[in-house]
């Protein structure tokens, strides 16, 4: 009777210790402690089927999967091996083992826990009474059910955690840039919206700094995109360091980064002081080289700044304003910064409009026409003419080449436009040659931009146009600027040699406005120099211009290069040029630019007079 009560109380106490926690480990730890104390055990061990990550599971993923150790109490108890056949059959008790070591008895009992685990208990000294083992059997079945519930619960928790992590990852990816882990455009725009709202309601201001790395493309082109990416990461880290948590650093795309600073107070001057201080920090931050792989690279940003709120401007508009200012900063040179103002937008809008119209015009090239301004010798005889493009735009009143040529050059449209000019000039020369020409008339000069001249197909394409028109290449002179010749000097020399061999003349246009070193002239097959009209102006009264022109003329003579002065508008200027030794002229004094028919008529008249 006494033992019966004892057994009942043991069974009850152990039974109460099952399922004390939904989590497997705490539940087993509590059960183990009661088991140790109540049955005088020295250790308790649990083995379960487990995933590779050590998470208990209810079913083996492979038939050969074995039980793995999960928990021992005490934790430093010597490891125990569960019988291999533990999960075979239906028996709850899978092992009763006795061994004697140093005259001390050690007993080990293993019980099956469902189809997924086992519990083993060890005892030093007396063996457990058979009734105790019997009472443990139903307890172990209950424990198995509790373990199963805990494992299912934990699997569910893990699935929830994995899902939450996946959601967090997706959310992170949605709002961050993959490469730098910085906030991306989406997050930037959300934040900018919030800053705008806060600035408007709180009467404060903010600043958006649009950074574009100078010459980043060169890094990608020369060192590869992998180094380029490392550089972008380094830039992101440097910017984050500079901002030190005070504001947002975002990557917009490519080499474009945004710094967003909110909560600025005071008048515009004070805000600018704050932003200027930040700009100084950025300059200082980028004065050191950045490490990108094995390379230490110096990189500078061009920065456009938009202060907000600016009227009713939306976040998108503020970003565009900063972009516009950044574009201006790029034009101002490396490592520059420009604050946005509305004039910048107006200028940029004009350029964008012109670009669109130019694209349309190139599809309908009849909008373009070549005018010709004749060139004359000392005797006033016509020795040639310069082809000058005119654009009869349906949208605006005869836009000046000074306005649209730079747009064409910046947007890459210059290649197409230049090709049209050459073809049209060749066709016009063919018409000129079809009639009578004064014997002094030598050639038509065509302006060629650097982009055009440096294109690998330029020479081949020019020769094709000459051949198609069936004209003599000697009737063409190409006017190149100094900078075109200086840049890519070796390739330029090779091309010029090919042109000269065919008979095409090379003239240096706007001479004197570019590089002071003129040594290149002696090494290139240049036949004539055009003295820029800026030096011709007021030559009779301007000592400075006079000195420059004297030098150019002396150089031409020394190198036996022909000279022609542009923009000659008065007889006094012409007389001065003559006195200095320049005997060829172009300008309003002789003729305004005129359509081809006008030039043909003029030449015919001169022949008739002769």
């Amino acid at each position: 009777m006494n033992n019966t009560l004892k057994y009942l109380s043991i069974q009850h106490e152990l039974g109460m210790a099952i399922g004390t926690s939904l989590r497997l480990q705490p539940m087993l730890a509590t059960f183990s402690r009661i088991l140790l104390r109540r049955l005088g055990m020295s250790s308790v061990h649990f083995h379960f089927l487990q995933t590779a990550a050590g998470e208990p599971v209810l079913q083996a993923s492979e038939p050969a999967d074995r039980l793995e150790h999960f928990l021992s109490v005490p934790r430093n108890a010597p490891a125990i091996v569960v019988p291999e056949s533990c999960l075979d059959g239906e028996a709850t008790v899978v092992r009763i083992e006795r061994r004697v070591s140093e005259r001390i008895e050690h007993h080990c009992y293993s019980f099956r826990l469902g189809d997924f685990g086992a519990i083993s208990v060890q005892r030093i000294g007396n063996a457990l009474d058979p009734p105790i083992i019997e009472l443990l059997k139903p307890l172990m079945i209950r424990l198995a059910l509790s373990c199963q519930a805990s494992i299912e619960h934990e699997n569910l928790l893990q699935a929830i955690a994995a899902r939450r992590k996946a959601e967090e990852t997706i959310l992170f990816q949605l709002l961050h840039d993959d490469l730098t882990q910085l906030p991306n455009r989406r997050q930037l725009m959300r934040r900018l919206d919030a800053e705008l709202l806060s600035a408007r309601s709180g009467g404060r201001c903010g600043a958006l700094l649009f950074l574009d790395l100078d010459r980043f493309k060169m890094v990608n082109d020369t060192l590869g995109h992998a180094i380029g990416d490392l550089l972008l990461v380094a830039v992101a880290e440097r910017l984050t360091l500079i901002m030190a948590g005070d504001g947002l650093v975002a990557r917009l795309s490519g080499d474009e980064f945004i710094l967003l600073v909110g909560g600025l107070s005071g008048d515009e001057d004070r805000i600018r002081l704050r932003v200027d201080a930040l700009l100084a920090e950025i300059r200082a931050g980028f004065s050191d080289a950045l490490q990108a792989g094995d390379h230490r690279l110096h990189v500078t940003p061009s920065i456009g700044i938009a202060i907000f709120p600016d009227g009713d401007c939306s976040a998108e508009q503020i970003l565009r304003c900063a972009d516009t200012a950044m574009y201006q900063a790029k034009l101002a040179g490396l490592n520059s910064s420009v604050y946005y103002n509305r004039q910048l937008s107006a200028g940029l809008e004009l350029r964008r409009q012109l670009e669109k119209e130019l694209q349309l015009a190139l599809k309908a090239p009849q909008q373009f026409e070549l005018y010709y301004q004749s060139q004359h010798n000392l005797a006033g005889e016509c020795i040639g003419a310069e082809a000058l493009i005119r654009w009869h735009s349906p949208y605006r009143d005869e836009p000046s080449p000074v306005t649209f040529i730079p747009v064409a050059e910046e947007t890459g449209l210059m290649l197409e436009l230049g090709r049209w000019v050459i073809r049209q000039a060749c066709a016009d020369i063919q018409r000129l040659l079809a009639g009578d020409l004064p014997p002094t008339f030598r050639r038509i000069s065509i302006n060629v931009s650097a982009i055009q001249f440096n294109h690998p197909d330029f020479v081949e394409s020019l020769f094709a146009d000459i051949d198609e028109a069936g004209i003599d290449a000697h009737r063409i002179a190409l006017e190149l600027t100094e900078s075109t010749l200086i840049r890519n000097h070796q390739a330029a020399a090779t091309r010029m040699a090919l042109l000269r061999a065919r008979g095409v003349e090379i003239a240096v246009d706007d001479f004197g406005t570019g590089y002071s070193s003129l040594a290149y002239l002696s090494r290139l097959p240049v036949e004539s120099i055009k003295i820029d009209q800026a030096f011709v102006r007021d030559l009779d009264s301007n000592a400075g211009n006079r000195a420059i022109v004297e030098t150019i003329i002396a150089l031409g003579r020394a190198l036996e290069i022909e000279l022609i002065a542009e923009g000659v508008e008065t007889e006094a200027e012409r007389a001065s040029l003559e006195a200095l030794g320049c005997h060829n002229y172009q300008g309003f004094l002789f003729s305004r630019p005129q359509p081809l028919d006008g030039l043909i008529g003029r030449l015919r008249n001169s022949l008739a007079k002769a």
Binding site: K6, S9, E13, R33, G40, S42, R75, A77, G125
Partner: protein
């Protein structure tokens, strides 16, 4: 006035200078660490003691106990300074009554505890959470290290600073001393079954609410009054209860003694946990049986020592004997100590403390928190490095 006996110095006065002198003397004899067993009745000022402990440039540990044992005699005054020839390592667990805070501290010291050959564990005997502490300690230490120790504190049962360490006098704490030498131990209580069994049908920690679905005090009173002839209505609770402890029956039929020290309403407050659903018996004490059990504890320790091929006379005997045995045995308590001394005659010193609860690793290896028991430990000479 100091009495020196091998590695033990009894400091009779409450004097910091005498403590310093004792430590100096033991240090000259080769001691590198020091255990201090002080008496509550000496009224040490914890602030003064803390300041001094912080200045001792060697590991120092110990406790303030109701009484100490020196030369097989119980003393209510004086401090034992016991020298250890090894430099022991000490871990302190604070906020012992906060289970959630206690376990991480033990885990933080796990490397030290697992490395030790044996551990002396002194604890605040009035801490309410001792069972959990002992379980957590076993979960880390396991069977590898033998554990012995006892509870420090004051007989007025008011918890206050009572543990000594290099960081001062501590309350609600435990001091765990890792030794590199082996401790052989024996423990016994001598209390015998009187009536029962009773099923613990409601309890919480050390508060026993119901036995056999009846108010615990009613069941206890009925059983005790029937055997003792005394009445709780006209006698102080503890003066009767000290003679009739409860015993939690183990699976092998042995008893883990639980001392009811207080009655609160219908509940009994015990020293140590009484788990719900356990079977308990009412125990009785007989002077002869208790004294004999103390001798049994000493014999078990000596047998273990000899079994391992060690020489008992190279060991120091340390006794943690429950203060309630003194209350029960009265003048016969010295006979109990003499019984221990006679078994361990070759050991030289029988020193120790009268404690509020005792702990030791059982034969099965599990660390047990005991009441009204005697723990005898033989501390061997550490192995040469």
């Amino acid at each position: 006035m100091m009495v020196k006996d091998q590695h033990v110095v009894l400091v009779e006065r409450r004097s910091i200078e005498d403590l310093d002198a004792a430590i100096d003397r033991l240090r000259k004899d080769g001691s590198r660490s020091f255990m201090l067993l002080a008496c509550a009745d000496d009224g040490w000022d914890p602030a003064v003691l803390s300041t001094w402990l912080a200045t001792v440039d060697a590991p120092v540990f110990g406790g303030i106990f109701p009484s100490i044992i020196h030369a097989a005699t119980c003393r209510r005054h004086g401090t034992l300074v016991i020298g250890f020839s090894e430099t022991v390592e000490i871990a302190v667990v604070n906020r012992l009554s906060d289970r959630a805070g206690m376990e991480p501290q033990l885990l933080a010291s796990a490397e030290l505890l697992e490395r030790a050959q044996s551990l002396i564990v002194l604890f605040d005997g009035l801490c309410p959470n001792l069972e959990a502490f002992v379980e957590s300690l076993y979960a880390i230490v396991g069977v590898r290290a033998a554990v012995v120790g006892g509870g420090a504190g004051y007989l007025d049962l008011v918890q206050r600073p009572c543990l000594l360490s290099n960081i001062g006098v501590l309350e609600d704490s435990a001091v765990l001393v890792a030794l590199s030498n082996v401790i052989d131990r024996g423990m016994a209580h001598g209390w015998q079954r009187l009536s029962g069994p009773f099923l613990v049908t409601r309890s919480q920690g050390n508060m026993l609410d119901e036995l056999n679905y009846q108010p615990a005090f009613d069941v206890y009173r009925t059983a005790v009054e029937a055997h003792s002839g005394q009445r709780f209505s006209d006698t102080d609770f503890f003066s009767i209860a000290k003679t009739f402890p409860l015993g939690i029956e183990g699976v092998d039929g042995d008893f883990l003694v639980r001392d009811p020290i207080k009655q609160v309403g219908d509940a009994l407050i015990c020293v140590g946990e009484v788990p719900q659903n356990a079977t308990v018996y009412l125990l009785k004490g007989e002077v002869g049986a208790l004294i004999a059990s103390a001798g049994d504890a000493a014999r078990a320790a000596r047998a273990q020592c000899q079994h391992r091929g060690n020489v008992a006379n190279a060991s120091m005997a340390l006794v943690f004997d429950c203060i309630s045995r003194l209350f029960f045995l009265g003048a016969a308590f010295d006979t109990e100590l003499a019984a221990i001394e006679s078994v361990l005659a070759e050991c030289g010193d029988v020193t120790g403390a009268l404690t509020l609860g005792e702990i030791a690793s059982s034969k099965a290896g599990v660390i047990e928190l005991m009441n009204k028991s005697t723990v005898v430990a033989l501390i061997g000479t550490p192995p040469r490095p």
